[in-house]
């Protein structure tokens, strides 16, 4: 074996090694996410139960106040009025109960989104709605975007958006993609998450006025590939960046599920 051949062989071995490392790294990260998601799903479920209990208790207070008001004017009201010179105005109590219940609804909606996002991370290869999964990613990133002053919009795809892939992989790739775009944005900037079904694929387009830092979470190795690219390609999809008309677009494309699945 000549020197050149030996050099090529070494290079190939090193590439195989690197690819293997990336796969191990990816598998490890997904496994970590799945463990975390299980914990998160359980916590979200507990929180939902606590919120439900608060909601019922507040509602019960309202019921009792209503009952008292009703009885004040009925025959039972005579017993309530006895010895009661200044009647208690219950209106502020109802106002407070209303506030508690509204806050419960807000908290519960956010918690449910977090729970849905976490729950999807637990799944393996399956058929799921691309639109819904994208909404969940948007929901968990909304607070971060708001803190950075970024205005995040979502445009969902029309028609069927059922995709067949690995949900944690999908979430990780899109999540990292959005994070990287947000890294390059400043307060007041706009980021549009747009879904479209095109040429048998579910496209997620991330459009902003500034370029993304990279295509998703960058590799730990300086010469390594972007992490999102590795994930998307492993899932049988593609990822690319393009710029024009003052817009910078990162697109992630995933295979649609076969009809009827």
């Amino acid at each position: 074996m000549g020197e050149t051949q030996a050099g090529q062989a070494t290079e190939q071995t090193s590439m195989v090694q690197r690819t293997g490392d990336v796969e191990v790294d990816l598998g490890l990260r997904i496994a970590q996410l799945q463990v975390l998601s299980r914990a998160l799903t359980n916590v979200a479920h507990d929180i939902q139960n606590h919120l439900a209990a608060i909601n019922e208790s507040a509602g019960w207070m309202g019921d009792l106040l209503n009952l008292k008001n009703k009885h004040r004017f009925g025959w039972i009201g005579r017993f309530f009025k006895r010895g009661q010179r200044d009647r208690l105005d219950t209106t502020p109590f109802f106002g407070e109960i209303d506030t508690i219940q509204k806050q419960v609804v807000h908290g519960s909606t956010s918690n449910r989104r977090l729970g849905d996002f976490a729950h999807r991370l637990e799944e393996t290869q399956s058929v799921f709605s691309g639109n819904k999964a994208l909404e969940e990613i948007r929901d968990v990133l909304l607070r971060e975007a708001a803190e950075k002053g970024i205005h995040m919009e979502i445009k969902l795809a029309n028609g069927t958006t059922m995709i067949e892939t690995d949900p944690p992989g999908f979430q990780l790739a899109v999540f990292c993609g959005v994070e990287q775009v947000m890294e390059g944005l400043e307060s007041g900037d706009r980021l549009v998450l747009e879904a479209e079904v095109r040429e048998g694929r579910f496209h997620v387009r991330l459009t902003s006025a500034r370029p993304a830092e990279s295509l998703g979470l960058p590799s730990r190795e300086p010469e390594g590939r972007d992490f999102s690219r590795t994930i998307v390609e492993e899932l049988g999809g593609q990822i690319w960046k393009q710029s024009g008309d003052g817009n910078h677009i990162t697109t992630l494309a995933f295979p649609l599920a076969a009809a009827g699945t």
Binding site: T41, A44, H45, D46, Q48, N49, L51, A52, A53, I54, N55, E56, S57, G59, W60, D63, L67, V104, V105, S108, R112, G115, D116, H119
Partner: protein, 163 residues
């Protein structure tokens, strides 16, 4: 109307029971799946409001067993955090409805009344077929209904009208 509430969150389900009582719906309460199945063996309720995530037996398993042994009992799922798959499974097992916690008490009361009404209608229809001598149809009517689809659609329409 006999209603059973099945939930391991004691504070929650006690208050829920009180609130339903104020709305004219008297309820009994149990705190896990096995207790629910034991209760059903002794006194068959018309409607069960069933949580999914409970210690011991998962609510879906209770529904699965009830759909085989007591298909006439109407079940309303009331869960803290169900998944799409849970909802599909509940639909397949012919649960009357599927609600998420926290829910509006009047909405829940409506669903319970709707489930009871549906059960009565099924029973009456089965009786009518039996009286007409169509025993096979009567038997099918009594055990095999598609409540979630029918009733769920009716309520969805009502919700739309409200908004």
């Amino acid at each position: 109307m006999k209603v059973l509430l099945v939930d391991d969150e004691i504070d929650f389900v006690t208050t829920l029971s009180n609130r339903l009582g104020l709305r004219g719906i008297e309820t009994d309460v149990v705190h896990d799946g096995q207790e629910a199945l034991d209760y059903v063996q002794e006194q068959e309720p018309d409607v069960i409001v069933l949580d999914l995530k409970m210690p011991g037996m998962y609510g879906m398993e209770v529904l699965r067993r009830l759909s085989k042994t007591n298909p006439k009992i109407q079940v309303v799922i009331l869960t803290g955090h169900g998944t799409d798959r849970d909802e599909e499974e509940a639909q397949r097992l012919k649960a009357f409805d599927y609600l998420s916690k926290p829910t509006d008490i009047d909405k829940l009361a409506d669903r319970i009344r709707g489930a009871y009404k549906f059960k009565l209608e099924q029973t009456m229809a089965a009786a009518a077929f039996a009286q007409a001598g169509e025993f096979d149809t009567a038997r099918e009517m009594a055990k095999d209904a598609e409540p979630l689809k029918t009733a769920g659609e009716i309520f969805k329409d009502e919700d739309k009208d409200e908004t």
